[in-house]
């Protein structure tokens, strides 16, 4: 079967390695506060032309924010969240 240029419909679901269950592309497309999940191309490239499709859908800034943002160790993510939560608490 040839890969298509556009995503399959929501009946077609693949395993999300982060959530741990089947998921449609429509979720992966908006997972990150409206932007695609950082693994969207990784997970979907086998099923359709995910990279060119998303590049066409996103502005260059959105693309960078979704896929080219420097990630940080989990511990630093937790530290950020603690600091945010302390601000909310106070």
């Amino acid at each position: 079967m040839k890969r298509t240029d556009t995503p399959p419909n929501d009946d077609y679901q693949i395993r999300c390695p982060r959530l741990g269950h089947q998921i449609a592309f429509s979720y992966c497309r908006v997972e990150n506060k409206g932007l695609p999940c950082f693994k969207a191309v990784d997970c979907w490239f086998e099923h359709f032309e995910a990279e060119p499709y998303l590049k066409a859908q996103l502005t260059p800034e959105e693309w960078d924010k979704a896929f080219n943002t420097q990630t940080q160790p989990k511990m630093l993510t937790l530290l950020d969240l603690i600091e945010q939560a302390q601000k909310i608490k106070s």
Binding site: M1, K2, R3, D11, Y12, Q13, I14, R15, C16, P17, R18, L19, G20, H21, Q22, I23, Y27, V30, E31, N32, K33, G34, C37, F38, K39, V41, D42, C43, F45, E46, H47, F48, E51, F67, N68, T69, T71, Q72, P73, K74, M75, L76, T77, L78, L79, L81, I82, Q84, A85, Q86, I88, K89
Partner: protein, 458 residues
């Protein structure tokens, strides 16, 4: 009758966890606080973790005692049995001996309670009354709910909304164990309300759920937060798997040539592998493989070639079926156990060449799961199928080479709550897709100058 299962008596349950931090060839650098540039200190983590777990997170002690109270809970299902997969060997007609450690026998059905029990215990003795966490499909949430129930702790789980709505069974498990499970984003937190204000139908994400859990943990004096993967203390607790397996393999009279585990956040892989990594550091010849979903085009149609492990071309050349390192943009190329959701310990061990990564496409993993179910009987969790698929690859390679390899893999959980995924596979809803020839050619051009291994026949 041949011995199928190797049990350890409860008296042989390991009394200590193995901490690989003491033996890392490249010592782990502590994460630095972005504001101060100094290593993150215990006080900064104290709002969400009890002090014993923070101490374990940075400990350099090789062996850490497993408290008696934790052992008392472990014996509900531990030591877990080691199986010899005779029927799978027969099905594959391989000379390889295949063993698997059955972690699916825990009450929650996976390896996750190995750390959930320990985390609940350390919270209990530190005065914690309630633990908050986040979960996707619920494997971690159910493990923690079960563990909190055993130690009389309250448990609150923020479950990603889309999972909460569509995957009820583990939510029901959590509630049965007494936990309170809500869909995230929720109206219970400031971060959740802010998201819902902008998008009332937001399906949620793990990032949102973790924000809610941490916010609640920080906001309550006697509450803490728990994480089921990635962190060093989680890897530590999981080593009980490999330590038991070493004793059982000794009873079987075999030593593994190959150790395999699937690696999402790294914890079940590390749990089986780390004690064997110590053996490898001490001179044993052993191939230790972490298996992950295909995340870049490691394609069957590409030549078997060497490629860089990343687009920065910093990692050693690795032989792999490949379409080249420039096929996907740098930041997307998350293959090789090196993305930020992976345990830093596992990532470092790969950089030190003590373990290696293998990526397997989804269709192959489900096909392997079906073969395993039809030979050994057990229906594997879809993540576990990655380890099963890699085991089958290695067993068939042993057949081609005519070698009696000993393969040990971690059967990390059962798939009885994941049958919808099998249904999609069995009914043909999932399909293999081919890449366009021009895409393949473009990628192959990138790697044509790289050296080719002996197996290359292109």
């Amino acid at each position: 009758m041949k011995v199928k299962k190797i049990f350890l008596p409860e008296s042989e349950l390991p009394r200590q966890w193995y901490n690989i931090m003491a033996d890392m060839p490249t010592p782990m650098e502590p994460p630095l606080h972005p504001g101060t540039g100094q290593p993150i200190g215990p006080d900064e983590l104290a709002p969400i973790f009890p002090m014993p777990l923070i101490e374990q997170e940075v400990s350099q002690e090789r062996w850490i005692d497993i408290p008696e109270e934790v052992l008392d809970k472990y014996v509900i299902w531990r030591p877990s049995p080691l199986y010899r997969a005779y029927q799978l060997e027969q099905y594959l007609d391989t000379p390889a001996k295949i063993y698997f450690k059955n972690e699916g026998v825990s009450p929650a059905g996976s390896h996750k309670p190995n750390t959930a029990i320990a985390q609940a215990y350390y919270n209990k003795i530190s005065g914690t009354k309630k633990i908050y966490t986040e979960t996707g499909a619920g494997q971690w949430g159910s493990a923690l709910s079960f563990s909190c129930a055993l130690f009389g702790l309250e448990c609150k789980v923020y479950m990603v909304r889309i999972s909460f709505n569509h995957k009820p069974y583990r939510r029901i498990m959590m509630e049965t164990w007494g936990a309170n499970c809500v869909g995230s984003p929720s109206t219970e937190t400031a971060s959740g309300r802010a998201i819902l204000e902008k998008d009332p139908d937001c399906p949620g994400s793990l990032g949102m759920a973790i924000s809610e859990a941490v916010e609640r943990a920080v906001g309550e004096e006697t509450a803490k937060y728990a994480l089921g993967s990635v962190l060093n203390h989680v890897m530590l607790h999981q080593t009980v798997i490999g330590l038991e397996a070493q004793k059982q393999m000794e009873i079987a009279g075999d030593y593994p040539d190959i150790v395999i585990g699937c690696s999402g956040g790294g914890s079940n892989f590390a749990g089986l592998a780390l004690p064997y990594v110590l053996d490898k550091i001490n001179g044993k010849e052993i191939d230790i493989i972490g298996v992950e979903p295909t995340s870049c085009p490691t394609m069957t149609r590409g030549p078997f070639s060497y490629d860089f492990g990343d687009t920065g071309q910093l990692t050693p050349l690795l032989p792999m079926h490949t379409l080249g390192h420039n096929f996907v943009p740098e930041a997307i190329h998350a293959g090789g156990l090196r993305y930020h959701g992976m345990s830093p310990i596992v990532s470092q061990l790969m950089m030190d060449d003590l373990i290696r990564a293998e990526a397997i496409p989804q269709m192959e993993t489900f096909g392997a799961g079906v073969k395993f179910a039809r030979s050994e009987g057990f229906i594997s969790a879809p993540e576990t199928n990655h380890a099963v698929a890699c085991t089958i690859r290695e067993a068939l390679k042993a057949k081609e080479e005519g070698k009696e390899k000993v393969i040990l893999f971690n059967w990390s959980g059962h798939g009885m709550v994941d049958l919808a995924a099998y249904n999609d596979f069995n009914s043909g809803k999932l399909a293999d897709h081919e890449l366009a020839d021009e895409e393949i050619q473009r990628a192959l051009d990138d790697i044509k100058e790289l050296p080719k291994p002996k197996q290359f026949k292109g």
